[in-house]
Each structure stands twice: as structure tokens, then as C-alpha cells.
Subunit: 581 residues, 2 copies
């Protein structure tokens, strides 16, 4: 490609609404242009990256035996009504009406359509297993789209769906995909982790997120540097402390803590470690009658150590809370504690309630909690002596750096990541909802066992940039760079030799199958280099008159601090060597 024939539209400034670096740099590098909230033109420079991502994904999906098809962007509502998602999903499902006032949606994913395909086309166990995928435009009507391609409304996703005879088959298909994802992410050339994720109501451990590591990532990733354990924050288990609960050492004392309503404030005010405080979270569950009216409510008190955060996914698995819960109302809190939030505690309740202690809290002695009286906390609180043992003990909290790894192989570390892939065992959730069956070996209809597997094709470049950039711009891995090599002649308009050498190197690289761009725009060197450093092409060869007179050209990798002189006659071989071609 010659730059003069391409469309290079770099900008000096990022738009005011670009909050994250990938959004800023993709805009400045001319890779995307905003058309509306969360809706972007993929400009030629950006589309090249997207197409390289697509090509790698397609190749590895095909290698893994998946079969590509394309499902419509605009889908009739009927299938979505079969699973109930047409009604249940929030406004992020864009619902539309056609000229005949019939209901349609714009696909956010395609479980319904692919399950409909399966129930029509996969009639016999002989056709299984089958994995159908598409790389297609999706739309999610986010309330507050932002961060460029990181959280757009319109985006491209690769979504795959596996269909198997039985659970063992589905799990094998899941593993085939998980292995393919590792190959895909390896080929992208990015640092990433496959982390265990919560599989929600489906159960089992078959859910992994593929997280691109980046300091700016929105997800916390928990891993064990001493082993291959990795999980997302929702999933990572906080083990029960190893030792037994210490014996009480102090008497229980009510202490004034005027205006100190948080554990941190109380600890600081009392001059004690935050880890000696316990916070009280009050939840409620409702029992409904058939008309959906609340007939009975139960209030729950969750106790966590003052320096720990509640993990909603874990709480939602506590027996009794697993059918749904809400935060308690002020009247409910008042009825049980006789006090407003900020000074609550489990001692001296007005009405009984269910107490769930975090594993950590369950083995604490001499702890501090609210006294159920404004401006007072109680110190030296002890299970058994000052209040009954908790009704339940459970893992309720997010792990923190240094917690023991659930695999027993060391301490946990935490880093941040951007989720760009997800593999998930679905079981029969959709096949039962849509009565999608095949005839099994015994001639009887059986519901498909399914899995689903996504990769955010347009999100991946943004994640790659969050991980790989510097103050000058993007630093692409070779595999997904818009161009692998840029040849920059300096003063080609003044020097025939420069022009000839640049043309020759360009032609040589093209002939070797290298994705090379020749910058023949005639820009000044400073502007030209700034453009390519912003755009992030990994390999650059600069050819100038002065160097040529000494028989030299300059090679610089985007990560190199300075250029390397290379004999002009060896330039082609040198670059090919760097690329391994």
C-alpha cells in the first residue's frame, strides 16, 4: 500500500469526550470516527486492524472444527419471546417495529436464532457435536456508551455456539473452544489471562473469561504467581482462615465514636487496625404469593471485616439469599436495630434476624461493631460470649492481595484486565426453553447440551492499545498492526536515490508477502514520524540522502529508543529477519 492512495487522517488532539487512552489514540490515529453515541465509523486504518483480528479468529475457529454461518442483524421478536428474553431483557435490547408494525430486535447475541437453526437442521445424534459461529455486527443500547470501541453500542462480535448429545460432550466441546481461545490470544501477541468466572445459575466451573492485562482495565483479575490459578473477582474464593478462633481477651465495652459512621473512621478514631472492625450490611428477602404480592419479608444481617468488600455474586449464592435479595429499607432496619445505619451491630437486637458471617469474621475475637445507638461502637465483642454463633458462615467478600490462593500454592495477587473473550457452558437452558431436540441413539428426542463462546472483535484493538502504548502513541503487536512495516523516504522529492531505494525496499517487502506501507505523501520527516508513531506501526525503515551516501538506512522498532543503522544493501534481508519471514 502506498500512503498517498490510502486514507491517513491523524489528529493532534483527542476529542473532549475520549476518557480512556485507547479511545483517544484510536481517534487521533484516524482509526475510528464517532458518528453518534457509541456508534463509530471504522476508518480504513482501524478496519485493517479489525480485519486482522477477524482473520486470526476465523482461522482458529475453523481449525477447531467450528463452522461459520451468518445470522441476521435484524431478528424477528418471536424467537426472543420463546425464551422470554424479549420481555425480560432491559432497554439494552433494541426493539424495533417494521412498516407492518411487527416486532423485531437488533441482535445483541444470537442464542435464540442459533438454537432455532439447531432444532431445524440438527436432527440426529449423528450430526453432533456441531459448533456454529458467526462474526457479525451486534447492537446493545447501553445507557451511557463511552470509552470508544471499549463499550460501544454497535460492535462486531464473534459468537459461537456448540451443540452436543450430552453433558460430557458439551464439556469436551467447551475444552476445545477454551484451547482454541488460547491459540487465538497467543497469536494476537497480547499479555492475557484466562480466568475462571462465575457461571451463574448454570452451575459447574465451566466459565472462563479471557482478559487482556492492562493497568486501565475495568475488571480485577485474581491470580496466583506461584501457580496457574486465575479467576475474576466475582469468582475468586476467599478461603476460611486456617487457624481456630482465638479465645476472648477483652471485655465488651460501649465506646463513644461521635460522628464516626464508617469502619475506617472508627478504627482511626480508636487507634486500632481496621481489620479489628466488623461492618454490618442489612439485606432483606421477600416471599411472594401467586399474584406477586409480598406476603412475608425476612431481614438478614451480613457481617464483613471492616477492610473487606462485599461480593454480590457470592452473597447471591448463600442459601436463603439465592432466590434474590435487596437492601433492607430504613423502616426494616429501625424495626430490628432501633438505630440508623452507620452504628449497626449484631449485639442487642430488637427483633431476631438471620446473621451470616463472612468466613473471616466467623473466626475473629475481640472485634468492634456498632452499638445500635448513634455515635457509639462496641469493642471486645466475641462470638458465643456476647452473641450467639452466626446462623450461617459463608464466603461473602472479595479477595484481597495476599489472601491464600484457593489451590493452596501461595498468596493471591491482583491485576487489572479487559474482558475480550468468554467461554461458557450453557447446559440445556436455551434448548429446553425452545424445545430444541435431536433424536438420540435410542430414537428418542433429547435436548441439546450447549455452550457459547464470544470474542469482542472490535473491543480487542482497544484492549490491545490499553496494554500497548506510550506517550507518542500506539505500539501494535505485529499480528494485528494495521501495517507491519512502514518505509519512510526522507526527501524523495529531492533525491532520486532515496526514491529508488525506498521503492526497491517497498517492492521487495511486498514480494515477500509483508504488509508494508510506503509513505509517499511527501510530509516533512517530523510530521511523518509522528504519524507513524501515533498509528503504531511496529517496524519502520527510514531512508534518507545523508545515510544513503554512507550506504546506510535506519531501522527502528516502535519500542526502540533509537534507530539502528543497517547497510542499505541488506535492508530487505534485515527487515525480513526481524519479521521471521
Amino acid at each position: 500500500m502506498k500512503a498517498s492512495q490510502f486514507l491517513i487522517t491523524t489528529l493532534k488532539e483527542a476529542p473532549a469526550d475520549a476518557e480512556v487512552v485507547s479511545h483517544q489514540l484510536m481517534t487521533r490515529a484516524g482509526m475510528i470516527r464517532k458518528l453518534g453515541a457509541g456508534i463509530y465509523n471504522y476508518m480504513p486504518m482501524g478496519l485493517r486492524v479489525i480485519q486482522k483480528v477477524e482473520a486470526i479468529v476465523r482461522e482458529e475457529m475453523n481449525r477447531a472444527g467450528a463452522v461459520e454461518m451468518t445470522m441476521p442483524v435484524v431478528q424477528p421478536a418471536e424467537l426472543w419471546q420463546e425464551t422470554g428474553r424479549f420481555e425480560k431483557m432491559g432497554p439494552e435490547l433494541l426493539r424495533i417495529k417494521d412498516r407492518h408494525e411487527r416486532d423485531y430486535i437488533i441482535q445483541p447475541t444470537s442464542e435464540e436464532v442459533v438454537t432455532d437453526v439447531a432444532r431445524q437442521e440438527l436432527r440426529s445424534y449423528k450430526q453432533l457435536p456441531k459448533n456454529l459461529y458467526q462474526i457479525q455486527t451486534k447492537f446493545r443500547d447501553e445507557r451511557r456508551p463511552r470509552f470508544g470501541l471499549m463499550r460501544g453500542r454497535e460492535f462486531i462480535m464473534k459468537d459461537a455456539y456448540s451443540f452436543d448429545r450430552d453433558e460430557a460432550g458439551a464439556k469436551a466441546s467447551y475444552q476445545v473452544m477454551a484451547a482454541a481461545y488460547r491459540r487465538i490470544f497467543d497469536r494476537f501477541g497480547l499479555k492475557y489471562r484466562a480466568v475462571a468466572a462465575d457461571s451463574g445459575a448454570i452451575g459447574g466451573d465451566l466459565s472462563e473469561e479471557f482478559q487482556v492485562i492492562a493497568a486501565t482495565g475495568e475488571d480485577a483479575i485474581v491470580y496466583c504467581p506461584a501457580s496457574d490459578y486465575a479467576a475474576n473477582m466475582e469468582k475468586a474464593e476467599a478461603l476460611a482462615p486456617a487457624g481456630p478462633r482465638p479465645a476472648p481477651a477483652n471485655p465488651m465495652v460501649k465506646t463513644p465514636t461521635p460522628g464516626k459512621s464508617t469502619c475506617a473512621d472508627v478504627a482511626e478514631y480508636l487507634g486500632v487496625p481496621l481489620a479489628t472492625t466488623v461492618k454490618s450490611l442489612v439485606l432483606a428477602t421477600d416471599e411472594l404469593n401467586e399474584a406477586g404480592e409480598i406476603v412475608r419479608s425476612q431481614v438478614w444481617l451480613l457481617l464483613l471485616r471492616g477492610d473487606h468488600d462485599m461480593n454480590e455474586v457470592k452473597v447471591s449464592k448463600v442459601p436463603g439469599l439465592d432466590k434474590g435479595f435487596r437492601f433492607a429499607s430504613i423502616p426494616e432496619i429501625d424495626a430490628h436495630f432501633g438505630c440508623k445505619p452507620g452504628y449497626l451491630g449484631p449485639v442487642g437486637l430488637k427483633q431476631p434476624l438471620k446473621i451470616v458471617a463472612d468466613r473471616e469474621v466467623a473466626v475473629m475475637a475481640d472485634w468492634i461493631c456498632g452499638s445500635n445507638e448513634p455515635d457509639f461502637h462496641t469493642t471486645g465483642v466475641n462470638w458465643g460470649r456476647d452473641l450467639p454463633e452466626p446462623d450461617l458462615v459463608a464466603d461473602l467478600r472479595n479477595v484481597v492481595e495476599g489472601d491464600p490462593s484457593p489451590d493452596g500454592k501461595g498468596a493471591l495477587a491482583i491485576e487489572r484486565g479487559i474482558e475480550v473473550g468468554h467461554v461458557f457452558y450453557l447446559g440445556t437452558k436455551y434448548s429446553k426453553a425452545m424445545n430444541a431436540t435431536f433424536l438420540d441413539t435410542d430414537g428418542k428426542p433429547k435436548h441439546f447440551e450447549m455452550g457459547c463462546y464470544g470474542i469482542g472483535i472490535t473491543r480487542l484493538p482497544a484492549a490491545a492499545i490499553e496494554q500497548n502504548h506510550d506517550e507518542r502513541g500506539i505500539v501494535w503487536p505485529d499480528a494485528i498492526a494495521p501495517f507491519t512495516v512502514v518505509v519512510c523516504p526522507v526527501g524523495a522529492d529531492r533525491s532520486e536515490a532515496v526514491k529508488a531505494a525506498a521503492d526497491e525496499l517497498y517492492a521487495g517487502l511486498l514480494a515477500a508477502g509483508v504488509d508494508v506501507i510506503l509513505d509517499d505523501r511527501g510530509e516533512r520527516p517530523g510530521a511523518m514520524f509522528a504519524d507513524w508513531e501515533l498509528i503504531g506501526v511496529p517496524h519502520r525503515v527510514t531512508i534518507g540522502d545523508r545515510g544513503l551516501k554512507e550506504g546506510m538506512v535506519e531501522y527502528q522498532h516502535r519500542r526502540d529508543a533509537a534507530a539502528t543503522k543497517v547497510p542499505a544493501a541488506e535492508a530487505l534481508a534485515f527487515v525480513k529477519g526481524r519479521l521471521g519471514v
Copy 2:
């Protein structure tokens, strides 16, 4: 690809709503599945064809210097309001609202968005010419979608838009595209014609349709077998007859024609050639005031020979009718003719009106028309003698087979075609509406000169099938076949030799880069052959035990009546020879 790993879903019967052969065969061959009215899943077998079409289009567009980008499927209404198309377009423009009740459309094309890109990114004449294209999902909410991919609502289109400094540049860009389209259609391996088309209000001759020839095509294509003249029916000019008008030979006579209200009935009843009759078409034009109310109407009488059809595009170019016209109302007809339609004629009018005679009618003598009295026609009518010369003479009709070619090189022939591509010079229509300018050499802003260029990516396979099929199924050209070669082992489960020979040929073809499928499903030969003939893979090699014992396999092209025996040892070389690889 091995068939067992692919998804082959052939059907014995076509769906009841499949009216055209391409819809029937694509459904039966498992290439598409209907999801809703005009909305289809592109099944794996069909997607392979679509992807081959896309790849050829992309390669030739790039070769022609066009630059690929992707514009969103969901587009904000604002840009469409700038050109007025948001309001002006009919309900085929699918208008939607997002969760914030803001207006969007699903793109049917992208003139507005690409013009917006140009006015932001192409600031200087130095960046021109530029041609931006995309291969992307489109939606047109057809009232009555049908014919499968031939007239779907959701479809894939390649749309390109050129931007130039001036008209000469735009015309050069147009010619570059027209040449690229010829290369593209040549590569598809289809019989096609590039035909001149009407360019509407834009003017000039720069509009060509690329029509795939098929007896079932919906468009009539006019061409001259003795030259390269080709045009669509709207555009093809009917020349004025060469000779002068004959002198009147007969007196004008009112003749009873009871109940004969059409020219054909009258000619038959009177025993005269249909070409001696003249039909009367009554139109009206309205003059509006600023409030859009009709202040004055003018009635027009168009006269065409009884055996000729009116051409609406040509009529819309007649001076006075070129601002829009309608058919006259019954009261208007009564006021001017004093008679109901069916017996109208230009002689003895109650009120004057504008008479426009087709070129052919203008040189007729002794013709027959209605008497403006029910059940009567008048014979022997002559211009000048019986009524004044017409106000205007114009080409008003569709050409017919045998008309002289406008290039003077012979007689016209007519065949049928399916439009799958269109190249069009747009001028400044969109750049002026959206004030899209660049700075020209003189430093002053100037509106872009534009062209637009479409190819119906998902329509092309349907058109290819309309052209290439037989009673057994589809016959694909090599370039866009879902697979180029199928290897069919017969009885591989019983014969190791068959299995080994098939595997070896399959591996050899794969290694040669041939797109080959090995049918390892274990189907009976009859079912297997029927599948591949239906699917239309052009080259088939059958390997059976009996043949192998004689050292032979069988090759058959999809168009061959019978198989050819080929020595097994030479099978690979034979097939490669047939493919030219």
C-alpha cells in the same frame, strides 16, 4: 473440508413460498434459511459463496485504488435529515428509536455518512481523488419481500463512493470503477452485460447497470447484436422513423366498435393491424402555491401506437412533464373528452389540452383512435387534415425487438437480466445538500464531485443460480462455488483401498490449494450424488472399489452428461489440469 465436519442440510422439497428457482435451490441446497419475511440465515454452504463473492469484489476494489472502511448499520437520523431523505424516503427506510427516544435509521445505503466522512477528513485537493467503500449489512423494509436473496430486506451490499475535485475527475473515477466492475464480473464467470441506464435528474450518460443475463430476470435489457450498444428499457432510445409521414389515403370515418375499449380488441374487430391504431393516455400536471395547494392543473394527451408501451422515465423528461405528473382524474377526462376512458381520441375535444405524440405516431397516416363516444372509434385519422399537428413530438415508448439500434448499427434485440451492480455519477447532489467541501488549489472551498458504485453481494449468488441451473440443481462457476471439487468415495466403510485413495486425492488437492470437500458422511451413492448435484459443486471425483480394481476413478463436471474414467494414479494431475492449477 470434510463433509462430516461441515453442515450439509439439503432438502427434498422447496418451501411453498419460494417462487423463483434461485430461492428454491438455495433453500434446498441448505445455503439459506428463512428467519422472517425477507430475512435469512446465511447457512455455512451459502456463506462460502458469499465470502468468495466478497473476496473477488474486495480484491478488485483495492486494485482499483478504492479504500475500504465500515460505516455503522445503525445511523443517527441527523445526517439523513440534512439531505432530507429521512423525511422523503418511503417506509422502506427503517426508522427506529433508541432507549432515549432519539431517531436512527438502519442503513439502506450510506451516501450521507460517507459524505460526512469526506467533509471532515478530505480537506484538501491534495487528498483527492479518493474512493471509499464498504461491504456491509443493509436493510430495506420492502413492502412485499420475496424471491429469497433476490429481494430480501436484510442483505449485504458493497457500496463505494468517489470524491473528486471536478467533473472531469469524477468522470475519470467513474470510468475506473466501470472498468473494475468489468473485471469483477468477468471473474465471477457469469454472462452479463453492462447496460446504459438512466441517470435521472443528475443528467449525463454516466450510469450503467451490470446485469446478469437470465431468462427469469426481472429487467428487460436492450442490446444490439451487431455492436456493443446495450441499455436498460428505461434508457434505450426509440429513434424517430426514418422516412417522411405518408400522405392521407382514406377519409376519416366514425365506426361502431361495441364494447371494444382496447387497441388490440379494436384492431381485431376491424380486421386491421394493431400498428394502425393509436392509444390515448391522459396525464395531468399541477401548479402549486407556496402552501402546497393546487392553483392550476394542465391536462396532457399522450398518443402512442397501439402496440407500443409507455416508458415512464422517458415521459418524465418531456418538457412540462419533467416536474412531475399524474394520471388525469375521471372528472378531468370528462371535462376534456366528454367520454369515459376506452374510447378517447384527439379529434373533437371539448376543451384544449397539450398533445404529445410519440415519434412513431407523429409520422403515421390514416390511423385509428377513439371517437370520444362510447362504443365508437374513428378510422382514417390524419395529422394536419383532421386535427392540428401535435404540440410536442417525443420518444415516449419502450423499444421493441427489431427497432433500429440508436448507434445505427443494426436492429435491437431484447433479453432479460438481473441487476447486481450499478455505477453512477452523482455530481454534487449530496455534497451540496450537506455542504461537503474541500479547499481547492486556489484556497477556496469547493463541493466534492461524487460517484456511487454498488454491488449486491448477497444478490449475486441468486442471480448466478438463475443463470446456471438444471433440473438437478445449481451449476456454480468455479470462482464462486462453495467448494470447487468434491471427492466422493463409494463404500469407504467397506474398502480400505477406496478410503485410502480418497484420502490421498483429498490431501493432494488441499496441498495444491484447491477448495475441496471430501464426502466422508457414509451416505449411499445416490443420495450423495444428488446432494452434490443440488449444491452444484462444479468438479466431482468418484472413487469406488470396482473402478479401483481396474486402476480407475471417475471424473465428472457438473455440466457433463456422463463421467470420464481417469487412471487413479493420474487423478490428482487430471483435476489440477481441469482447474488450471
